[in-house]
């Protein structure tokens, strides 16, 4: 930053408290031709912060592949839209609510869910599924129990009440999140392709309508407190934590969907972060028009709210719409029926400015383009660090007599144990279309009234990303791809939530750049574009960044629900086969971290050609009805994956494969692998299909009994394994 001789009336400290750099302030003055007043400063601060402007990330996000045959709407709207045939589309997005959830886990997580639901139903879709991606600190960190139970009950509290099933997610524990947990929420909705709603305002003179809850002093930018204007009775004016009201959201959802059946809405935008500010500016900017808003018309919950507060309040469960004036009364009746606020607060103008009035006084007048197009954009310096070196492990370093004990210890660990304690607190069946419940690879939700379904999964391995951001970025994408394939679906597109530390540090920016590059390569190769996403930077405590965490949410389509696969073993006598080669890559594996308490050895690499071949083979084999059950091999390696199949199906297995490096074979985290249960009748056909496609396919055992028996090593009862599996996460809640 240049060294200024501060020549402005506005206090320098006030500008800083609004998170604006001094040269950014200069840019504002230049654009306006004068200094901004406090309300305007607040508006710029909100629009130009990282969250709204993507100023550090935009340049790199543009590199992601975002188009494809099925993409109806890529990034840039409230949510992405993909074509799922027959005139139907799936609408989805993932979003972070990290900081609020750390401050108040229940409300933070709940309002996170509420926010992402609105993003999806704003587009005209009925939400049909919620997922989440959660990261907490170490299991025994003093805060973890409180945060875990608060976040889980907050997610459930909101989703259960509004009646959208929470069907999946992921959760990890790692010390890098001790002071900065991650709560990423994803919603998937379904709409008709010809009934999608967008945010661009249009029609000069058309009414701008506010609907939903009243506005209070919820979550107003911390800067309010600091600004001189609020010195007297400042106690009263303290910004407050947002509290979620899922009941009102349910009413808002039904009212909006009811109104959307009529030809009344010209544009619609939910009020999310930076509330009325970002929603009104977004509408105006997309539509290339101006808006004039009378703030005294905004329904208020608290007394004496200033223009500044009204514009920056983050009260939940609110929407802004531009209506066809001839439908205004009809719309009002619908909202009245649902007991919701409905207020015309302004109109569309041709000034291309945002003009705010309050009690006939002009409170702000800003050209829209300087807020949006002229927003700062940075190409921050970055350093790409050398990935951690790959370590070769040798059989001599391991005692094969401990192998089954090690397995037991691993599946008891909160990172690998059953997540049942979590998903049993979520209503994962409301709407009665959940075909595959949590606990398998991807969840499957039927498209209501049809025989097709959507498969969905969220994934990321931050440890992989930390030690090799490029491979880690690839991995996060590919892991959802595999999960979706293993459930019997065709993967179609992803959403992402990029959680990183401070981008002003070159090493962190380097992680971001490399993760994006990895994601982009995987998406391009797999024809699996990014249609929406969210960036959360500055996740740091005491100067320490979190591990790079590009959480990915993938969605796939199953044309015929009879092809759905789960990971439960189905039948005695079937063969268990592995797809993909195992090369004893133990680096950064769960084995090394849980059993040896080390984090070393290098991230496994993914060959995207092999990945594509193996995935296509599994899809073909499922579509040809050759497969009884399927599971991808993920963290923990083959033996953990086999255990999951056994425990879920309550069936044992005899593993016949012989290896001179059992720990390597059974716990390695080599990529691009799946386990398939195949009946003896279909085995030859599978083998042939694999050969024709140059895919490594190998029988490793026979299903049956109530134990996992490994030749030359020993036995483990499934019921004992299950007891260990179910303690992991539950234990934290009992700490």
């Amino acid at each position: 930053m240049t060294n200024h001789n501060w020549q402005f009336q506005t206090e320098q400290s006030l500008v800083e408290k609004h998170g604006l750099k001094l040269d950014e302030f200069e840019k504002i003055v230049e654009g306006l031709g004068r200094e901004p007043n406090l309300t305007e400063l607040g508006i710029f601060s909100a629009m130009w912060n990282e969250h709204c402007s993507y100023k550090s990330s935009k340049f790199w996000l543009k590199k992601l592949p975002t188009s494809g045959k099925r993409v109806v709407q890529g990034p840039g709207e409230n949510a992405g839209v993909i074509d799922i045939d027959d005139g139907d589309v799936a609408v989805f997005k993932m979003e972070s609510h990290n900081h609020p959830s750390f401050l108040e886990p229940y409300q933070g997580a709940a309002t996170g869910v509420g926010g992402i639901l609105r993003d999806v139903f704003t587009m005209g879709a009925r939400p049909v599924a919620n997922l989440n991606a959660l990261r907490f600190g170490e299991p025994n960190h003093p805060k973890t129990k409180h945060l875990l139970s608060g976040v889980v009950s907050g997610i459930g509290g909101y989703g259960n009440c509004i009646g959208v099933p929470t069907v999946g997610g992921e959760v990890n524990f790692h010390p890098s999140y001790n002071g900065n947990i991650l709560v990423n929420a994803m919603t998937v909705g379904i709409a008709k392709k010809d009934k999608i709603f967008y945010s661009a305002a249009a029609g000069i003179g058309n009414p701008v309508v506010y609907v939903g809850s009243k506005t209070g002093r919820d979550g107003i930018h911390g800067a309010t407190m600091a600004s001189a204007e609020f010195d007297e009775d400042s106690e009263d004016k303290k910004p407050t934590v947002q509290v979620g009201d899922p009941f009102t959201e349910k009413l808002l959802l039904e009212a909006c969907l009811e109104l959307m059946k009529e030809e009344a809405i010209i544009s619609i935008q939910d009020m999310g972060a930076a509330g009325l500010t970002s929603s009104s500016i977004e509408m105006a900017s997309k539509g290339d028009v101006g808006l004039e808003i009378d703030l005294s018309k905004v329904p208020m919950r608290a007394k004496n709210m200033s223009a500044y507060e009204l514009m920056l309040s983050e009260s939940q469960e609110r929407m802004l719409m531009v209506l066809d004036p001839s439908k205004e009364e009809m719309a009002r009746d619908i909202f009245k029926k649902w007991d919701l606020e409905f207020e015309v607060i302004g109109k569309v103008t041709d000034t291309k400015r945002l003009i705010l009035m309050k009690n006939s006084k002009e409170e702000a007048s800003i050209p829209i383009n300087i807020l949006v197009e002229d927003a700062p954009e940075y190409q921050r310096d970055y350093i790409v660090q050398e990935p951690s070196p790959i370590k070769e492990y040798k059989p001599e370093d391991f005692d094969q007599n401990n192998l089954l004990n090690d397995l037991n210890t691993m599946i008891m660990h909160p990172d690998l144990s059953s997540r049942k304690w979590i998903w049993e607190q979520y209503d994962h069946m409301v709407m009665a279309d959940t075909v595959v419940r949590p606990g398998s690879d991807a969840a499957v939700v039927r498209v209501h009234g049809t025989n097709k379904g959507l498969a969905m999964s969220t994934d990321c391995s931050p440890v992989y990303c930390k030690h090799n951001p490029y491979e880690g970025g690839k991995h996060a994408v590919v892991e959802t791809w595999r999960n979706i394939i293993a459930s019997g679906a065709l993967p179609i597109a992803i959403t992402d939530c990029m959680n990183f530390g401070n981008p002003e540090k070159p090493e962190i920016m380097g992680q971001f750049v490399e993760c994006i590059r990895g994601m982009g390569d995987a998406c391009s190769k797999l024809n699996y574009p990014v249609v929406s996403g969210n960036v959360s930077l500055y996740n740091e405590t005491n100067g320490e960044g979190i591990y790079p965490t590009p959480a990915i949410g993938g969605v796939g389509l199953i044309q015929d629900l009879s092809n759905v696969k789960t990971l439960s073993l189905k039948e005695d006598g079937n063969f268990l086969c592995v797809v993909g080669k195992t090369a004893n890559h133990l680096g950064i594996s769960k084995y090394i971290s849980i059993i040896q308490s080390k984090e070393e050895g290098g991230t496994p690499e993914i060959n995207l050609d092999t990945e594509l071949r193996n995935g296509n083979f599994v899809m073909d084999a499922i579509n040809q009805k050759l497969i009884a059950s399927a599971h991808d091999v993920g963290e923990g390696g083959i033996l953990v994956a086999i255990s999951e199949m056994c425990m879920s199906g309550n069936l044992g297995i005899t593993i016949e494969i012989e290896t001179n490096f059992p720990h390597g074979y059974f716990f390695a985290e080599d990529q691009s692998r799946y386990l398939l249960e195949v009946s003896p009748n279909n085995y030859d056909a599978c083998q042939k299909l694999a050969n024709n496609n140059n895919v490594h396919f190998e029988k490793i055992g026979i299903v049956g009994g109530d134990k996992i028996s490994i030749k030359n090593i020993g036995d483990q009862h499934i019921s004992a394994l299950k007891r260990s599996f179910e303690t992991g996460i539950k234990q934290i809640s009992q700490l």
Partner: protein, 223 residues
């Protein structure tokens, strides 16, 4: 065959139960908004699950004061079969059609999973063909409570419809998901034409749900 499903603000299993009834009986039930004051002639009134009024204050309390509930109570007293599921059960209790109270689960957390129930009463229109059945529960307040005198009364009068059990029909504390007195999962009124139950039969009503045990209850009323 005419059936009605009451819709309150915050109901969220109204569509699910309507779909189940349509699939099983072939007839589309009529949805009745809570602000209406009367229901046409009906062979079955369903008070569905969900979070009427957000479950704020007490589950079912505010819905039980809705305008439509006068007529539901009246029809119930005239003998029309009334089925309350989950939040519907809570509403029927709050409206005085059924005895007892539904308190917070003893685990203090929401529980969504499959459970097994077995019929205790086997003579009502709802339970006459019932057997041990698997279906999901999904609730925060399903912990059934009555005073000891009331318990004796509902026992003597054969009003206990379902109890939580295991595969073999054993009823004990290990098969009790929420702390309910006597493992009670559902109860009937004195005349046995009103049933309230916490489990969701409409979520176990077709192959895609992975289990069809819930159909039995609808079939025995509808066919």
């Amino acid at each position: 065959m005419k059936s009605h499903v009451i819709v309150f603000p915050g109901s969220n299993c109204d569509r699910d139960v309507a779909v189940a009834i349509k699939n099983i009986s072939g007839h589309q039930p009529q949805m009745v908004w809570h602000k209406e004051t009367s229901i046409d002639q009906s062979d079955l009134i369903v008070v569905p699950g969900g979070f009427s009024y957000g479950d704020y204050l007490r589950c079912g309390a505010m819905a039980s004061t809705s305008p439509i509930m006068h007529d539901v109570v009246k029809k119930a007293k005239e003998g029309v079969p009334v089925l309350g599921i989950c939040n519907g059960f809570q509403i029927l209790i709050e409206s005085g059609l059924l005895d007892g109270a539904l308190m917070r689960n003893s685990s203090l957390s929401f529980i969504c999973r499959d459970i097994l129930i077995k019929p205790k009463n086997q003579s009502s229109v709802f339970t006459k063909n019932a057997q041990v059945a698997k279906m999901p529960i999904a609730h925060n307040e399903g912990n059934f409570f009555v005073t000891s005198q009331q318990l004796k009364k509902i026992q003597d009068n054969d009003q206990i419809a379902f109890q939580y059990c295991d595969e073999n029909g054993n009823v004990n504390e290990h098969t009790n998901p929420n702390g309910s007195l006597e493992n009670i999962a559902g109860i009937l009124n004195e005349k046995k034409n009103v049933l309230g139950m916490m489990p969701h039969p409409e979520r176990a009503a077709e192959l895609a749900h992975g289990c069809e045990d819930g159909k039995n209850i609808f079939e025995s009323i509808l066919n």
